[in-house]
């Protein structure tokens, strides 16, 4: 099938195939993305993050449905962890999104993290770019369940929604640097449970210490499973979108995102260059030498980089 034509014509099989090809790093995919790059940049990107089990997938499904009902086209990228031992993964975000499977406005792609840290997958950024080219109005990027430092999503999303639930920890947890700093909208999900008000108060108290001149993140109580509070969330996202677009934040964010994208591509390219020049036995023998104390890790790294450096001289 002609993938490029399929993408232009809005064919979902072509979209799915192009994502796979890009994940595999195939040159054909790169060529198509380069040729169609000019079509991208119009989608609004919403990051959904938070600890495991707080209801990110259910919430994503609910919000995506609301946008779809308004006639918007929505892409969802749902990340789940890959086993570091076998490379396998169970991607279960779709279980909470069953109602969306046959919605013609919605396209869902599940991804294993495939060894990538930071809460996303290696190919999340490129997949988001492809969905953008395809003509999605909104793209939701749902991270794996995060701990305290997976902040990568903020480098990709225009608005980041931090989802929490009652009973996750005391107010000291709420003051930690890292993930609690990247939320533009906070959602206290499962608000029908005890302690939701307390959690919301703790987040507000944490926000009181922030810079007063900047955007004050909204804190919204919701029960995603019962579709409760979802309209408040989309309103808050809309307000944040308006805020960043009326100031220069949107443009500077986008610039920052593109910089990250370029650096990521360059880094990946260097890594694959290094790996392609390094026979597996050689790597093993360098590791063995380091283990035996014949060399040190710094010299070992230099040794691996040598062919690359020699070439550039």
């Amino acid at each position: 099938m002609d993938i490029k034509r399929g993408i232009i014509e809005g064919n979902r099989v072509a979209l799915a195939k192009l994502i796979t090809m890009a994940e595999d790093g195939r040159q054909e995919a790169i060529d198509i993305i380069r040729e169609l790059y000019g079509k991208s940049g119009l989608a609004y990107i919403i990051g959904i993050t938070g600890p495991p089990g707080v209801g990110k997938s259910t919430l994503t499904a609910g919000l995506a449905k609301m946008y779809s009902d308004l006639g918007k086209r929505v892409g969802i990228i749902a990340c789940d962890p890959t086993s570091p031992y076998t490379g396998g993964a169970i991607l279960g975000d779709r279980i909470r999104m069953q109602k969306l499977f046959t919605d013609p406005n919605i396209f869902i792609r599940s991804m294993g993290s495939r060894g990538h840290l930071g809460g996303l997958s290696m190919s999340t950024r490129i997949t988001s770019r492809i969905m953008d080219i395809f003509g999605m109005d909104y793209i939701f990027i749902e991270t794996v369940g995060v701990g305290q430092s997976e902040v990568e999503i903020a480098d990709m999303a225009d608005t980041t929604i931090m989802v929490l639930a009652p009973g996750l920890g005391d107010d000291i947890q709420a003051m930690k640097a890292g993930i609690m700093e990247i939320g533009n909208v906070f959602v206290v999900n499962k608000c029908d449970r005890d302690g939701a008000d307390k959690t919301a108060r703790e987040i507000e108290a944490m926000l009181d210490f922030n810079d007063k001149s900047a955007w004050r993140p909204k804190v919204i109580k919701a029960a995603a499973q019962a579709d409760e509070g979802l309209d408040n969330i989309t309103n808050a996202v809309g307000e944040h979108e308006k805020y960043i677009k009326e100031s220069d934040i949107f443009m500077s964010k986008r610039k920052e995102h593109i910089k990250e994208e370029i650096m990521e591509l360059a880094t990946n390219s260097i890594m694959s260059d290094i790996m392609s020049r390094l026979p597996k036995d050689e790597l093993n023998s360098i590791v063995d030498k380091t283990v035996n104390g014949e060399t040190d890790p710094y010299s070992a790294a230099n040794c691996i980089l040598k062919p690359l450096r020699d070439r550039s001289v």
Binding site: V13, A16, I19, T86, G87, I95, F101
Partner: protein
């Protein structure tokens, strides 16, 4: 490095027994595959659409309701209609031996009945899916 095989594990129809599907999902995961599990009570339309969006290599369906002769071929038919007939489709569950030839004639590559070691399903998938990189 070649990418992992992607498998959609789905439960078509109305029975609520997903222990088997979950055991198989776990075994495929441990064999290094990416398993997209979609939960209970799926229509053939939902399964076909999920398989397309996820661009899986394999659609593995578990069914214990007795409606296999209707539902499994329907998924194959929908995939073909939508231009995604390239996927390996397999089935499992309490499926009488007499029904298996019919299902195979409808494009289901293999049926795994109760008692099949998970290693057998893993091997079947590994030997029937080609990942070109």
């Amino acid at each position: 490095m070649s990418r992992p095989i992607r498998v959609l594990v789905a439960k078509p129809g109305l029975d609520g027994h997903d222990r088997g599907a979950k055991v198989v999902a776990r075994a495929l995961r441990d064999a290094g595959m990416e398993v997209i599990y979609t939960g209970l009570r799926q229509t053939p339309e939902q399964i076909a659409e999920a398989a397309i969006q996820e661009d899986v290599d394999v659609v593995a369906m578990s069914i214990l309701s007795g409606a296999h002769n209707t539902l499994l071929p329907k998924v194959v038919k929908l995939l073909k209609e939508k231009g995604a007939g390239d996927k390996l489709v397999v089935g499992g569950g309490v499926i009488p031996a007499d029904d298996i030839p019919y299902l195979k004639s409808q494009g289901i590559a293999e049926i795994f009945t109760p008692g099949t070691p998970t290693s057998e399903s893993v091997e079947f998938i590994k030997s029937h899916v080609r990942i070109d990189s």
